[in-house]
Symmetry: C2
Subunit: 158 residues, 2 copies
Amino acid sequence: MNAETPATTPPADERLDLGKLADAVGYVLRRAQLAVFADFNRRFAALDLKPTQFTVLHVIGANPDRKQSEVAAALGIQATNFVAMLTELEKRGLCQRTRLDADRRSYAVTLTPQGEALVAKGDRLLAEQEKAIEHILGSDGRRKLVELAAQLSQTTQW
Amino acid sequence: MNAETPATTPPADERLDLGKLADAVGYVLRRAQLAVFADFNRRFAALDLKPTQFTVLHVIGANPDRKQSEVAAALGIQATNFVAMLTELEKRGLCQRTRLDADRRSYAVTLTPQGEALVAKGDRLLAEQEKAIEHILGSDGRRKLVELAAQLSQTTQW
DNA sequence: TATTGTTATACTCTATAACTATA
DNA sequence: TATAGTTATAGAGTATAACAATA
């Protein structure tokens, strides 16, 4: 009798109204980021790399022999929390710390050959994710999203 | 002699290269979300509301007398983690649980008058943040960002 | 004295298992 | 048997304080 309420749908189960949140940048950004990270984790599960771990290795690869503190700062990771993180990646044979002669308090960080290989694989998986996102948003949409998000994240003056 | 290296900048301190991360949706989305949340926390500090707490109250206000589990599900919050959260907001006199006669396992959740007042204040602060974002991205840019992020977050098929 | 890397630690967020009362 | 809400708990992620080695 009522075609709009199929038997599979319990009564009084209409979607909730998100109100102004539906148009709030912070809210939609958070939900989108969670969705993208969930997809990332599925894709990178075989490499056993979480988003942050991949970004660390990727940046070390793109900036060999930079100081530990510089890598951490570039990614917005606190120096204190970066220690255990780097140590684990080093234990897995993916990167290496080397004392600097110029300043013997500091370490230069580089990728090992295994690290290079894993980053190369990760880069391919990342490219596949970007392709998947292009499929959803269109090529222009994806580019525009990156542009707008980067613009926001680089803003220091609100 | 070298105008490109001012005295305030230590030598060998060039910005690190983010490589492909600079064009990766997941990475820029995460950085943008953190920036927006940091700004949110500054704006909402006087109300003592964190982003999630505000979204909960806002959705309850927009959907009075819905079940606790429905509110949690709408926001992607696990039922088990939602308990303490709601209890705290209830202790602060901002919302209220009421047993449902129809199903006495469930609670209907509503805002108290204080809760309504606080959400009203929060809504104004939120509008101010959106204005600030418009100032950064432009009106079209902000709208486009919301559209693209929402589209991504609503995608279930990757 | 200041800085790099470190340890210890606490606090928040999120996830899982198991319970209770109702259905 | 299944579901709504709950408790207990464990694991991440993130933050601060204090230290050793070096500058």
